[in-house]
């Protein structure tokens, strides 16, 4: 039986980060921080975990002399996120089946 549940992605903050990244090509660190209302350090920590898991790619660049960081969900990340969402849907549906 295939199982798309992913412990790394399922952590609430990381699930929210992946939800945003799944919709865009790349998101600047500040956009993720503001949209998800997270602190720099918390976001940094979770992005690092996702990067170490091989799910996101981090790119640094300079805009008007200021260093910026962009984060993108790579192919492995997209696949894992999609599979995880499918698994969550299945789990949520089992609850509906059990209802009288």
């Amino acid at each position: 039986m295939s199982d798309g549940f992913n412990d790394i992605i399922h952590v609430p903050t990381r699930l929210r980060i992946c939800s945003i990244l799944a919709e865009v090509g790349e998101a600047e660190f500040g956009v993720l921080r503001d949209a998800l209302d997270l602190s720099d350090s918390v976001l940094s920590k979770h992005v690092k975990v996702l990067e170490q898991a091989g799910f996101v790619t981090v790119r640094k660049g300079s805009v008007n002399g200021r260093t910026r960081t962009w984060v993108a969900l790579n192919k492995a990340g997209q696949k894992a996120f999609k599979a995880h969402i499918e698994e969550l849907r299945k789990l949520a549906a089992t609850g509906d089946l059990l209802k009288p």
Binding site: D7, P12, E23, A35, L36, G95, L98
Partner: protein, 156 residues
């Protein structure tokens, strides 16, 4: 990385997790906005392309216009990657329908302009087509952004 042995969330927890996914998508909506220079620059590039295409059999400088538009179309995506959010409105399901209409309208204008010019040989046909393409881009571009933002806001 899957973990078949790990504890699974209950149906309620899974539902809450899916709800947080939806809320996160909705939170992204206010940030979906292309840089203000993007669609004017793209419109100018497409306008130059149309003029170059229509006059391509008559004049040498027409090919130069096509080359300039080619350079513009190569540079614009690179400049876009410096933006805060890099979204492809042409492939995202939320705006894909409108973007196909936009591309189809652009192609239609190109074909009609080329056919009309080859029939009547009036230079203004190329310039009118170019203006139409610029207007089309200035109207449809922001509309695609808005469509995408709306799709995210209504995600569920």
């Amino acid at each position: 990385m899957t973990n078949p042995q790990g504890a699974r969330p209950s149906a309620e927890e899974a539902r809450q997790a899916l709800e947080s996914v939806t809320l996160s998508k909705q939170a992204l909506a206010p940030y979906v906005r292309s840089p203000s220079w993007l669609y004017p620059a793209q419109g100018v590039g497409m306008g130059l392309f149309v003029i170059g295409l229509v006059f391509s059999k008559d004049t040498g400088w027409a090919m130069a216009l096509i080359a300039v538009s080619g350079v513009l179309f190569s540079v614009l995506p690179m400049l876009q990657t410096r933006g805060r959010l890099v979204v492809d409105v042409y492939t995202h399901p939320g705006s894909r329908g409108l973007s196909w209409l936009y591309v189809a309208a652009f192609l239609l204008i190109c074909v009609v302009a080329v056919v009309l010019y080859s029939t009547y040989s009036r230079a203004w046909i190329a310039y009118v087509a170019a203006v139409l393409v610029v207007v089309l881009t200035l109207v449809t571009g922001p509309a695609m952004d808005a469509r995408l933002a709306r799709a995210l806001r209504n995600a569920g």
